[in-house]
């Protein structure tokens, strides 16, 4: 296209072709120029800090005495092996992930199917209502839930008493605080629900009709049509939910006033990291913790991607 225009006498079509060719020649430079905010940002705010945090994790850096920094080799990583608080925080985080990831995935998919159903009147209203808690600042919604879960004045225990069940002391019990945070997590299903909804809407109706002709009931058509067809979005939601569970912080901080109460039952990995870095100023050790988190999250993501081949459906367009 550009080569033919060069053969045309310049006088015939002077400006457009000249402009066009000049633009083509400068395309790489212009493109890189437009993308440069990302490149500069990546170097400044991701690449260099990552390297720096790797270096810091080999030191005893304390921001109150920045000149007193010493290189201490792998001492921080050795310390991890014998740090009971870290082990507890890993346990808390893992148990929570095992509870909250399946719970929120199932709830989000269920709600998405409900608000996608043709049998539901006012679907758009329901979608908006189920999404609404996402717009409430996390600190505010956590505060609301602290009230709802209160042992004596909370509405959840009123409701449980109403049906004759004893209401636990949700946030003060080392056992119940996990399920309580899981319940709070249900308020965060909004984005997942919308992503599932988009996935459900892209399943061709012909497939359901064909399944019906083959004699499939609702469960069979869910199992053999819906699930395989939405497996890409299910996979995406799974990865994001897992990462979010390992980064869990705000709710745990607000519920326990930053202490991890009761008895360290809410001392999530991230809360522990925050306390090490900004409570005790052990920033070298906290950097090592951050790298441990990164390795765990990366490892889990890689494992998920490896298993994806066997269960994530690769349709024509992917």
């Amino acid at each position: 296209m550009t080569t033919t225009s060069a053969a045309v006498p310049i006088a015939a079509e002077p400006r457009p072709t000249g402009r066009w060719r000049a633009f083509r020649e400068r395309e790489s430079v212009t493109g890189l120029l437009f993308v440069s905010p990302f490149i500069v940002g990546f170097i400044l705010f991701s690449a260099i800090p990552m390297l720096a945090s790797l270096v810091l994790s080999l030191t005893d850096f304390d921001p109150r005495e920045p000149d007193e920094i010493h290189f201490i080799g792998l001492t921080n990583y050795q310390q991890m092996l014998s740090d009971p608080v870290l082990h507890e925080s890993l346990g808390v985080t893992l148990r929570f992930a095992l509870l909250v990831v399946p719970l929120t995935l199932a709830a989000a998919l269920g709600v998405a199917m409900l608000v996608n159903s043709r049998l539901l009147a006012g679907r758009h209203v329901f979608r908006t209502l189920f999404y609404m808690p996402m717009q409430i600042p996390l600190v505010a919604s956590t505060i609301v839930w602290i009230g709802v879960l209160h042992a004596t004045t909370g509405w959840l225990n009123y409701a449980l008493e109403g049906v004759g069940l004893p209401g636990p002391n949700w946030l003060q019990s080392t056992f119940w605080v996990g399920p309580a945070l899981g319940l709070m997590g249900l308020w965060g299903i909004g984005n997942m629900m919308l992503i599932f909804l988009a996935g459900l809407q892209s399943v061709p109706t012909e497939l359901y009709d064909a399944a019906k002709v083959d004699g499939a009931g609702p469960w069979a058509s869910f199992r053999h049509v819906t699930l395989p067809m939405i497996s890409p979005v299910l996979f995406y939601n799974l990865v994001i939910a897992l990462i979010a569970a390992f980064q869990y912080f705000t709710q745990a901080y607000v519920v326990s006033n930053g202490r991890g109460d009761p008895d360290r039952a809410t001392l999530f990995f991230n809360l522990n990291l925050y306390r090490e870095a900004f409570g005790f100023f052990h920033m070298g050790y906290a950097s090592a913790l951050a790298w441990l988190l990164f390795v765990i999250v990366l490892g889990l993501t890689v494992v998920l991607f490896k298993t994806a081949g066997s269960w994530v459906f690769a349709g024509g367009e992917r």
């Binding site: 493109g31 810091l56 921001p63 159903s117 009147a121 329901f126 600042p137 919604s141 709802v148 951050a290």
Partner: protein, 361 residues
């Protein structure tokens, strides 16, 4: 189109016989009712919040108090304030009567609905009676919370931080998305994948060196660490905008180019006007995110209550006034009011944008 997809021999429901339409109507009502029940349970905490915010603190600990905001009723009778009680009647009904004179085994009441009828003697132990609660809204919680927590300042701070960081995120997002969607350059795909990979990078990994650098620059305790990084594009926004830019026909760019427009003119007068829905979605998305952000303001504005945003101020307030749920819930309502109102106003654009960006990622 949907009619074509239906198997032959099953006419659309609306055209079917009456009983089929009736059955469909019944199923729809049942499903909608179930959905309404679920959504009520789901949003129940909001009910708790509103009810608590309008209550007098004493109502929370009172045993016989109702769930809605209420106060024990009093009745003024001949210059005296009488407490109103729920009094069981011989016929099994309950009447709200004002207690004039209690005795051990009986009491004298006045019927507030009919005080002219005079004194009524009731047989029974007045001690066993419970007070009668009447609906009553307590607005003081809001004014007290507003003053205690210094809401105007927190609002301004949140607006400042969220507004500036949104400005940076949208401007840089548009530029980078334009670069990725309209120009060919070496390493483009690699860069794009690198950008998407930053989504799984936990921010904790970069937190401490960044903190150390901001500390050295004297930026800890200012808004800069919360604003500057957003001027360098973020993966979510770029991805969503790029996907949208790709749907804009290239012929429009080329026509503008023939008219002599350079890349910046094309971006400004072709791409941006065409991509308004996606830009609105990204703007709202980022604004909500920044409005709710807690961790980084907590880290960088520690000990600077004058500069902190709403989320940090609210958490501090929650820790200080743990024993006063009425104040805390009133504060929570005020903190969520703006984002929720914005959300309802811009719902359509926002939901579309989120779905649009979500599927493809």
């Amino acid at each position: 189109m949907t009619a074509v997809a239906r198997p032959i021999g099953r006419p659309p429901a609306a055209a079917g016989p009456l009983h089929r339409r009736m059955r469909r109507f019944a199923v729809m009502s049942a499903v909608t009712l179930v959905a309404a029940t679920i959504v009520s349970a789901f949003l129940m905490p909001l009910g708790y919040m509103v009810a608590t915010a309008f209550k007098d603190p004493s109502q929370l600990t009172a045993i016989d108090a109702p769930l809605y905001p209420a106060a024990p009723e009093v009745f003024e009778y001949q210059g005296k304030e009488l407490k109103v009680y729920d009094v069981p009647q011989p016929d099994g009904s309950i009447k709200a009567w004002a207690l004039l004179q209690p005795h051990r085994e009986d009491a004298i009441f006045i019927d507030p609905a009919n005080p002219e009828a005079g004194e009524i003697t009731w047989i029974g132990r007045p001690r066993t009676l419970t007070q009668h609660w009447g609906f009553s809204l307590k607005v003081d919680n809001f004014t007290t919370a507003w003053e205690t927590i210094d809401f105007p300042r927190l609002f301004l701070n949140t607006f400042g931080i969220a507004g500036l960081s949104t400005l940076g995120a949208v401007l840089s997002g548009i530029c980078v998305a334009y670069g990725f969607s309209r120009f060919r350059f070496p390493g483009r795909n690699g860069l794009f994948i690198l950008m998407l990979a930053t989504i799984i990078l936990p921010f904790q990994v970069t937190l401490i060196p960044s903190y150390a650098v901001y500390l050295a620059l004297g930026w800890v305790g200012t808004w800069w660490p919360l604003i500057i990084p957003h001027f360098f594009a973020n993966a979510y926004n770029v991805f969503l905008l790029r996907q949208y830019f790709l749907t804009i026909p290239r012929e429009l760019d080329e026509a503008a180019m023939i008219d002599g427009a350079g890349p910046f003119r094309i971006l400004r007068s072709v791409i941006v006007p065409q991509a308004v829905p996606a830009i609105i979605a990204v703007t709202l998305f980022h604004f909500f995110w920044a409005w709710n952000e807690y961790f980084l303001p907590l880290v960088y504005l520690q000990g600077k209550p004058d500069l902190q945003p709403l989320a940090v101020g609210l958490a501090r307030f929650n820790a200080l006034y743990e024993q006063q749920p009425t104040l805390i819930q009133a504060a929570a309502i005020m903190a969520m009011a703006l984002p929720v109102v914005l959300f309802f106003l811009a719902q359509r654009a926002f939901m579309r944008g989120v779905v649009f960006g979500g599927v493809e990622k």
